[in-house]
C-alpha cells in the first residue's frame, strides 16, 4: 500500500475545485486514458489578471487527483507570471510529499498548467506532440518533457526519470536515449554552474585537498570501529584515483579485509571525498594495476 500523507488523502477524498468552467480563458489537457492518468485544467482571470476561478477533472489514482486539487488551491489569486513559477516539487510539497513512484502525478499537474497558460497566450490549443520528438513510445513522452523534468528536479538516473515522467516505464527500449538526455542536461548545468546541481563534494579537488579529506574520513568514519577490534588503517599514498592504504594490527590478518576495504572504506571515501576514488591495499595485485 502506498504511504500517502493525510493531506494527500484529504485532497483525494475531498477534492477542491472539481468541474468545468463554461468559457475558460485557458484550458490545458495532458495525459490520456491509455497512459493511466489524465488531467484537464481550466482557469478564468479577473480584470486584474489574477486567476479568480480554476477547475479540474482528473482520471487517475489518488495522488493524481490530489495533485490536481492541490494545484487548483495554489493557483487561486495568482497572476499567470506567478503561476508559471509553480514547479512539480511545489505541488508535492503542498501535499506533504508523495511516494517517489508517484512523482509523475505532480509533473502532470505542472504540465497541464503550462498547457493552459500556453492556450491562453496563443488563444489556440497547445501544439500537438510530434511523433519525431517522442522518446518513450509506450507513454508518449517527448524529449522536451524529459529534459524539463531532469533539469527542474535534478534527476540523475533512468529510474528517477520514469518516476517523474513515466518515460522508460514500458518496454525499456528508450533507456539509452534517456541516459543521453540525462548526460546532456547535466553537462549543460555544469556549464552554467547551476549551484543546486553541483554538490560541494563533487567540485574538482586538488590532490592536497583530497588527501586531507581522506585522512579526515578515515579518522571520523573508519578508525574508531577498527580500533575497537585492535586494528588500524593508514593512508600510504594517493595515485590518481587510487587510494593506497595499509591495514595494521589485527586488521592485517583479518580474513574480511577485502570486504572492509571495498564495502566500508571505499564506500565512505566515495561518499565524503570523491566518487571516482577506489581503495586498494598496499602491495596487492590491484595496487600494481
Amino acid at each position: 500500500m502506498w504511504d500517502y500523507t493525510s493531506k494527500l488523502m484529504d485532497h483525494f477524498k475531498n477534492p477542491r475545485n472539481v468541474g468545468v468552467i463554461e468559457k475558460p480563458d485557458g484550458i490545458g489537457e495532458v495525459g490520456s486514458l491509455a497512459c493511466g492518468d489524465a488531467l484537464r485544467l481550466m482557469f478564468k482571470l479577473d480584470d486584474k489578471g489574477q486567476i479568480e476561478n480554476v477547475k479540474f477533472q482528473t482520471f487517475g489514482c489518488a495522488s493524481a487527483i490530489a495533485s490536481s486539487s492541490a494545484l487548483t488551491e495554489m493557483l487561486i489569486g495568482k497572476t499567470l507570471a506567478e503561476a508559471q513559477k509553480i514547479t512539480n516539487q511545489d505541488i508535492a510539497d503542498f501535499l506533504g510529499g508523495m511516494p517517489d513512484q508517484k512523482m509523475h502525478c505532480s509533473v502532470m499537474g505542472r504540465d497541464a498548467l503550462s498547457a493552459a497558460i500556453e492556450n491562453y497566450e496563443k488563444g489556440s490549443p497547445p501544439d500537438k506532440k510530434v511523433d519525431s520528438d517522442i522518446v518513450c513510445q509506450c507513454f508518449g513522452v517527448t524529449q522536451l518533457e524529459i529534459e524539463r523534468a531532469v533539469r527542474e528536479n535534478h534527476l540523475t538516473t533512468i529510474e528517477e526519470v520514469t518516476n517523474y515522467t513515466k518515460a522508460g516505464g514500458g518496454c525499456e527500449s528508450c533507456h539509452d536515449d534517456i541516459s543521453q538526455i540525462i548526460a546532456r542536461v547535466r553537462a549543460e548545468k555544469k556549464d552554467t554552474g547551476d549551484p543546486a546541481d553541483v554538490p560541494v563534494r563533487k567540485k574538482e579537488l586538488t590532490t592536497v585537498q583530497k588527501i586531507r579529506m581522506i585522512e579526515e574520513t578515515l579518522d571520523r568514519e573508519i578508525r574508531p570501529s577498527l580500533k575497537k577490534d585492535g586494528g588500524d588503517i593508514e593512508l600510504v599514498d594517493l595515485d590518481g584515483d587510487k587510494v593506497i592504504v595499509s591495514m595494521r594490527g589485527t586488521c592485517a590478518q583479518c580474513r574480511l579485509v577485502d570486504f572492509t576495504l571495498k564495502d566500508v572504506v571505499e564506500t565512505k571515501i566515495k561518499e565524503f571525498v570523491a566518487d571516482n576514488l577506489r581503495v586498494v591495499e598496499e602491495g596487492s595485485e590491484e595496487e600494481a594495476r
Binding site: D37, T58, G60, A64, I65, P125, Q137, F139, G140
Partner: protein, 397 residues
C-alpha cells in the same frame, strides 16, 4: 463493516488450522529427522499432512513434496525438471497470462538460451488449444499452464491440455495455486507431471506450499542439503505450517461443494448487482473460478476505486497500473486485449467461504456511489467545448 474480498491475494487462516498447528511450536517442536522419540513422534504428523494433501489432489502421499510457497514450487517444478533433462530439449512453452512466478522464470530461461513460446489468449481469456497443440514439438522440454488465473479466475481445460502435452512427450506442469480447493483436482485421472499449490490461498498460513510430483518424474532439487522430502527439497520441515496445510487441505476437500454453491451464489449476486447499478461496468473473463469476479469500470481508475472501497472497509485489488507500482496495467488484461479504457479501471473481488451475504450487500450499497463520484471527477465522462483530447501518440496500442 470490514469486508475482505481479496482472497486470491491471501486468505484468513482457518481457526481449525490454527488449533491443529498450536502444539507444534512449544510442545512437539522436535526435529522429525532426529533419532530420539521426541523428534521422531513429529514424523507421523507430517505423514498425516502428506496424506491429507494427497487426498485433496487425488495423488499418492509419496508424490507430495513440501515447499516454502507457491513461487518456490513453480521454480522447483520448472527449473528442476529442465535440469533433469540436462539441456537435451531446448524449447519451453507457457502462456501470456501466467503468474510472475512462472512467467518471469520462463523469461529468465529464455535469456539462458531456451526457445520460449508464450501462448496468447482470446478476449475471454481462453487458450486456442489447436494452436497449443501445433506449438508443441519433439524439442519441447516443458509446458507450464496454470489451472486457473489469479487475476480473472479464468479456468483452463487442464485435463485436455495434459493429455495433449503427454501425447507429445513433454513434461507438463500446472500452477494450481488458485484452483486447489476451489475446483475438483484428481491426479489419478489427469496426466499432469508436476502441480503447484500454496498454503495461504486455501486458509493455511503463509510460508508453506506443496508440489505434486508424479512418481517417475525426474526433478533436480534446487535447495540441496539434507534428505528431507525424498531428496527433492532439503531443509528442516516447517512442521506447524505443514500440519496446518494438511488440515486446510482436508477442509478444502470437504468444502469444494459449498465453494461451488454458496460462494458462487454470493459472487453472482455481487456480479449482477454491480452490472445493474454501476455505470460502464464490464466483466473480464469467461468460465471463471466460483469465487472470483474481475470487473472493469469505464473511464475511472482502479487505485482510486480501491482507496474509496478501503474507506468503507472493503478490501479488494486491481489490475490498474497505479496500484502495482508499475506503469503498465495488468499483463493478463492486456493479453486478453481489454482496452486501456477498461484495463486501468479493473477491480478484482475474490471471495471465500467465510464471506456472508450482508458483506456483499455492503459493497453493492456503496459501489454505485463510488463510481458516480469518480466519474464526476473524470475528464473522460464529460464533453467539454474546446477540448482537444485525443489519445496521446504512442499510447494507443
Amino acid at each position: 463493516m470490514n469486508v475482505y474480498l481479496d482472497n486470491n491475494a491471501t486468505t484468513m487462516v482457518a481457526p481449525e488450522v490454527i488449533e491443529a498447528m498450536s502444539p507444534f511450536w512449544s510442545e512437539l517442536y522436535g526435529n522429525p529427522s532426529s533419532i530420539h522419540s521426541f523428534g521422531g513422534q513429529v514424523g507421523k504428523h507430517i505423514r498425516k499432512a502428506r496424506e491429507q494433501i494427497a487426498a485433496l489432489l487425488g495423488a499418492r502421499p509419496d508424490e507430495i513434496v513440501f515447499t516454502g510457497c507457491g513461487s518456490e514450487g513453480d521454480n522447483l517444478a520448472i527449473r528442476g525438471t529442465l535440469a533433469a533433462l540436462s539441456g537435451r530439449k531446448r524449447h519451453i512453452i507457457t502462456t501470456r497470462v501466467e503468474h510472475p512466478a512462472v512467467r518471469v522464470t520462463f523469461q529468465q530461461l529464455e535469456k539462458q538460451g531456451y526457445r520460449l513460446t508464450e501462448m496468447p489468449v482470446d478476449h475471454d481469456g481462453a487458450l486456442d488449444l489447436e494452436k497449443l497443440d501445433a506449438a508443441i514439438t519433439p524439442d519441447t522440454a516443458i509446458v507450464s499452464i496454470m489451472w486457473a488465473n489469479n487475476e480473472t479466475g479464468v479456468i483452463f481445460p487442464i485435463e485436455e491440455i495434459a493429455h495433449m502435452v503427454k501425447a507429445k512427450g513433454a513434461v507438463f506442469h500446472t500452477d494450481a495455486v488458485q484452483a486447489a480447493g476451489k475446483l475438483p483436482i484428481d491426479m489419478s485421472r489427469v496426466p499432469v507431471d508436476v502441480l503447484t499449490i500454496s498454503g495461504h490461498k486455501l486458509h493455511a498460513p503463509k510460508g508453506v506450499g506443496a508440489l505434486f510430483v508424479r512418481k517417475g518424474t525426474k526433478l533436480v532439487p534446487h535447495i540441496s542439503g539434507g534428505h528431507q522430502e525424498g531428496g527433492k527439497r532439503a531443509g528442516t520441515e516447517n512442521v506447524p505450517g505443514i500440519v496446518g496445510l494438511g488440515v486446510a487441505a482436508e477442509m478444502a476437500s470437504a468444502a469444494i461443494g459449498s465453494e461451488n454453491n454458496l460462494v458462487r451464489a454470493l459472487r453472482d449476486r455481487l456480479k449482477s448487482g454491480l452490472l445493474a447499478d454501476c455505470k460502464g461496468a464490464v466483466v473480464n473473463g469467461k468460465n471463471c473460478l466460483p469465487n472470483t469476479l474481475n470487473i472493469s469500470f469505464e473511464n475511472i481508475e482502479g487505485e482510486s476505486i480501491l482507496l474509496m472501497l478501503d474507506a468503507i472497509g472493503v478490501a479488494a485489488s486491481s489490475g490498474s497500473a497505479c496500484t502495482s507500482g508499475s506503469l503498465e496495467p495488468s499483463h493478463v488484461l492486456r493479453a486478453m486485449g481489454i482496452p486501456f479504457t477498461l484495463a486501468h479501471g479493473s477491480v478484482r473481488f475474490s471471495l471465500s467461504r467465510y464471506n456472508i451475504e450482508a458483506e456483499i450487500d455492503h459493497v453493492l450499497a456503496h459501489m454505485p456511489g463510488i463510481v458516480e463520484r469518480l466519474l464526476e471527477i473524470s475528464p473522460f465522462a464529460h464533453q467539454v467545448p474546446g477540448s482537444t483530447w485525443g489519445v496521446a501518440p504512442g499510447c494507443d496500442t
